[in-house]
C-alpha cells in the first residue's frame, strides 16, 4: 500500500500529454483506415455502373469512438497497469475501492440470499443461479487442493463424478434418502481422493497435473464401460429428488405444499435446491476458512510455498498432501451428489475433462486461495457464459480474450492478495503486486 501512495501524482502531466498524443495517433490511423472502408460506400448500379455515396457521419462517430476508447484504455492501463509499475490511482478512487472491497462479500451474500425472492417467477434465472452456486462450491473445493496446497489437479471432475454416481446408485438401488447419501458420497469421494493421493505423493507441478488428468479420464472410462453397475453411456435415470428431511416437494397429499396448506408450485423445489446448494457452498467456505487458521491449513499453504522447508520444520508432508486431496475431493463429492439430485439423471457426458478445466479456470482466474475471488470468477465464467449465449459462435472468442486480458492485468487472478491468518500486533495487508511469483 505504501508504495502506491508514495508518488501518486508525480508523473501525471507528462502522462496526460502522452495519453492525448497516443489517442490522437490512434484516431488518425482510424481515420485513414475507415475513410475508405466506412466513409465511402460503393455499390453496383442498375446498369452495372458504379454508384457511391459518402457516410461522413458514421466515419466521425467511429473515429471519435477510437479516440475516446484509446484514452479510456490508456487510463485503465495506468490504473490497473503492469505489475512492476507504480499506479496513479487518485486517493478518492482508492478509498472508494477499498470501501467496495470491504462490503463486496457481505453485499454479494445478501443479494444471493434474496435471489429466489426477487426472481421467484423467473425459472431461468433460478436455474442459472443454482448452476453458478454449484460451480462456486466446486471452485471452493478445488481451491483447497490447488489454491492452498498448491497441488495442480486436472482431474477434479473425477470426484464430482464419484459423488454423483455414489448418490445415484445408492439412492436407486437401496432407496436411501438424499440426507443419508450426501455424507456417504462425500466419504466415498474423499476415499478416492486418498487413493489418487498415494501414487502421486512424490510428484509435483507438471507431472502431478498429467497423472491427475489421467485419473479423471480413468474414472470416466470406468463409468462408461462398467455397464452392469453404472448403466454405461446410458447413465442413471430416475434419481430421487431431495426431500425436506423426509417431506417430498411434490403435488401429493404428503407433499410440503399440502402440509403447509399452500398451493403447490414446481418453483418450490427450485427454491429449495437453491438454498440447499447455497448452504452447502457456504459450509465449504466456512470449513476452508476455519482450516486455514489451523495448523493443517497453514501446513497446506507452507507446502505450496516450499516442500523442503516443510520437511525441515517437521511437517509430515505425506499426511498433509493426503488430507488436502481428501478434503478437496470430499467437497467435490458433495457437489456431485447435489448435481445428481438436481438433474435426476446423470451420464458420463457430464464429467468430461472440460468440467475439470472450467473449475480450474475459475480457481486460477479468481486468484489462487482467495474465497471471494473464486466466487466472483464462478459468477463471471458461468453467468457470463450464459449472458453471451446470444452471440453463440463468438462467445468462446470473447471468453478467450477476456481471460488473456485478465491474466495480463491481474496475473494473480481477480483477487490476488492473500490475507494472513496469524496476527500478532497489527494487521496490514501487503499488496501481492509487491511480491513476485516464487522467491522474493
Amino acid at each position: 500500500m505504501s508504495a502506491t501512495s508514495a508518488r501518486p501524482h508525480a508523473s501525471q502531466p507528462s502522462d496526460s500529454a502522452f495519453i492525448l498524443k497516443k489517442a490522437l495517433i490512434s484516431a488518425a490511423v482510424a481515420l485513414v483506415l475507415f475513410s475508405l472502408m466506412i466513409g465511402i460506400r460503393t455499390e453496383a448500379g442498375p446498369e452495372g455502373n458504379l454508384i457511391y455515396w459518402t457516410r461522413f457521419g458514421d466515419l466521425a462517430a467511429i473515429v471519435a469512438t477510437v479516440f475516446g476508447g484509446s484514452i479510456i484504455v490508456e487510463l485503465l492501463r495506468q490504473w490497473w497497469g503492469p505489475v512492476d509499475k507504480e499506479r496513479i490511482v487518485p486517493k478518492p478512487v482508492q478509498s472508494a475501492m477499498s470501501f467496495a472491497g470491504r462490503w463486496l462479500a457481505p453485499a454479494l451474500l445478501g443479494f444471493t440470499v434474496l435471489v429466489p425472492v426477487i426472481f421467484y417467477d423467473q425459472r431461468y434465472i433460478l436455474d442459472l443461479s443454482i448452476l453458478v452456486l454449484t460451480y462456486v462450491m466446486l471452485g471452493w473445493g478445488l481451491n483447497v487442493v490447488v489454491g492452498l496446497a498448491g497441488l495442480l489437479d486436472l482431474g477434479y471432475v473425477a470426484f464430482y463424478a464419484v459423488g454423483a454416481y455414489s448418490y445415484a446408485l445408492l439412492a436407486t438401488n437401496f432407496d436411501l434418502s438424499f440426507w443419508v447419501c450426501l455424507p456417504l458420497a462425500g466419504i466415498l469421494a474423499a476415499l478416492w481422493g486418498v487413493m489418487l493421493g498415494f501414487p502421486v505423493l512424490r510428484l509435483r507441478g507438471d507431472y502431478l497435473a498429467i497423472v491427475t488428468l489421467a485419473f479423471g479420464e480413468i474414472i470416466r472410462l470406468v463409468i462408461i464401460n462398467w455397464q452392469s453397475l453404472t448403466g454405461g453411456p446410458n447413465g442413471v435415470s430416475g434419481i430421487p429428488r431431495p426431500t425436506v428431511f423426509g417431506i417430498p416437494l411434490d403435488n401429493s397429499d404428503d407433499g410440503l405444499a399440502a402440509k403447509l396448506g399452500i398451493e403447490f408450485s414446481p418453483t418450490h423445489r427450485l427454491v429449495f435446491l437453491f438454498y440447499l446448494i447455497l448452504a452447502m457452498a457456504l459450509i465449504t467456505n466456512w470449513v476452508t476458512i476455519r482450516l486455514r487458521r489451523l495448523p493443517i491449513g497453514r501446513a497446506w499453504e507452507a507446502l505450496r510455498e516450499d516442500e523442503v522447508a516443510c520437511r525441515a520444520l517437521g511437517i509430515n508432508t505425506t499426511t498433509t498432501k493426503l488430507t488436502a486431496f481428501a478434503t478437496g475431493a470430499m467437497f467435490g463429492g458433495f457437489a456431485g451428489a447435489f448435481f445428481a439430485t438436481r438433474q435426476g439423471f446423470i451420464s458420463p457426458e457430464s464429467f468430461t475433462f472440460q468440467e475439470s478445466a472450467l473449475v480450474l479456470a475459475i480457481v486460477v482466474l479468481g486468484g489462487m486461495g482467495s474465497q471471494l475471488g473464486v466466487a466472483l470468477a464462478a459468477l463471471a465464467m458461468i453467468g457470463g457464459f450464459e449472458l453471451f449465449r446470444g452471440f453463440d459462435q463468438y462467445r468462446m472468442l470473447v471468453f478467450g480474450i477476456a481471460m488473456v486480458l485478465l491474466m495480463i492485468w491481474r496475473p494473480r487472478g481477480l483477487i490476488g492478495h492473500r490475507a494472513p491468518t496469524v496476527f500478532l500486533e497489527r494487521n496490514q495487508a501487503i499488496s501481492s503486486d509487491l511480491v513476485k511469483e516464487g522467491h522474493g
Binding site: E301, E305, L313, P420
Partner: protein, 248 residues
C-alpha cells in the same frame, strides 16, 4: 543435567548415506556435546549438507547409527525427528515467500505442540535476537531482504524451542556485515540460553572463530577435528579454506 554433560547430545557413528549409487557419506563420526557450537567445514560437495540432512532422516542412513540424547534416532521418520526438538534451518533460507513473517514463525511453532504462553515466550526471544523481524511482522516473507530472510529462517527454527539447532550455510549470499550480525546472534543464543548448535559453513574463518570445536569434511569423510582455534592455525586449513579463498 550434570550427568548429561558426560554423554554427547548428538552422536553420529559410522554414518553412511547415498543418493542412488553415489555415496555421499562414507562413514562419518561426529559428536556434539550439550552447550557447544560445532562447525562443520569443507569444500563444495564434501557431504556437509548431506550429513545434516541425514541426521534429519533424509536421505536415510545406509549404515551407522545416530543417537540423540542417548536414544537411537537412525530410522525415525523426518517429521518425528523435529518433534524431538532438533531444528534445522535449511540451505538457501527457504522461508515461505507468500506467507507473512508472523505466519512463517508460527510454522516453526506448529511442529512441536506448544502452548500459547510458550509461543509468546518464543516470539519474544526471536524478536529480542532480531528486532528487525518485529518491525516486519506483517510483511510477506518474500519482501524481506536476504539478511532478514536468514534471520527469519533462524527465528522460525527457534520457534520450536530446539535443544539442537542445525544451520546450513547461514552466511550464504549475505553481505559481510549482515553475515557478522547472524554469527553474533548465534553466539548470543549459545551464551545466553546454552543452545547447542551445529553449523555447516563454507565461510571457514567465521565459522571456526565462532565454534568451540570444528570438523573438516573431505569427500564424505571427516579428515580433521579439533577446537576452532586449533583448526584455524592448521596450515592445511589456512591453505585450503582461508588464504586461497581470499586471494582467489
Amino acid at each position: 543435567m550434570t550427568a548429561a554433560a558426560a554423554t554427547p547430545l548428538l552422536a553420529v557413528r559410522g554414518l553412511r548415506a547415498a543418493y542412488g549409487k553415489i555415496e555421499a557419506l562414507k562413514g562419518v563420526d561426529i559428536e556434539i556435546n550439550p552447550g557447544e557450537i560445532v562447525a562443520l567445514i569443507g569444500a563444495n560437495g564434501a557431504g556437509k549438507s548431506t550429513l545434516m540432512m541425514s541426521i534429519f532422516g533424509k536421505p536415510r542412513a545406509r549404515a551407522g547409527r545416530i543417537e540423540f540424547d542417548g536414544h537411537d534416532i537412525t530410522g525415525v521418520p523426518t517429521h518425528e525427528i523435529a518433534r524431538l526438538r532438533i531444528a534445522q534451518s535449511p540451505e538457501g533460507r527457504r522461508i515461505f515467500p507468500r506467507m507473512s513473517v508472523a505466519e512463517n514463525l508460527q510454522m516453526g511453532a506448529d511442529a512441536t505442540e506448544c502452548s500459547e504462553d510458550e509461543r509468546e515466550v518464543g516470539l519474544e526471544r526471536v524478536f529480542a535476537l532480531f528486532p528487525r523481524l518485529k518491525e516486519r511482522i506483517a510483511q510477506r516473507g518474500g519482501t524481506l531482504s536476504g539478511g532478514e530472510q536468514q534471520m527469519l529462517a533462524i527465528g522460525r527454527a527457534l520457534m520450536s524451542r530446539p535443544r539442537l539447532l542445525m544451520l546450513d550455510e547461514p552466511s550464504l549470499g549475505l553481505a559481510p556485515l549482515i553475515a557478522r550480525q547472524i554469527f553474533d546472534a548465534i553466539r548470543t543464543l549459545n551464551r545466553q540460553d546454552g543452545l547447542t548448535v551445529l553449523i555447516v559453513e563454507q565461510n571457514a574463518n567465521h565459522a571456526l572463530k565462532l565454534a568451540h570445536r570444528g570438523y573438516v569434511m573431505v569427500n564424505g569423510l571427516i579428515t580433521l577435528a579439533g577446537t576452532g582455534a586449533e583448526l584455524l592455525q592448521r596450515p592445511e586449513i589456512r591453505a585450503a579454506y582461508l588464504e586461497g579463498g581470499r586471494r582467489g
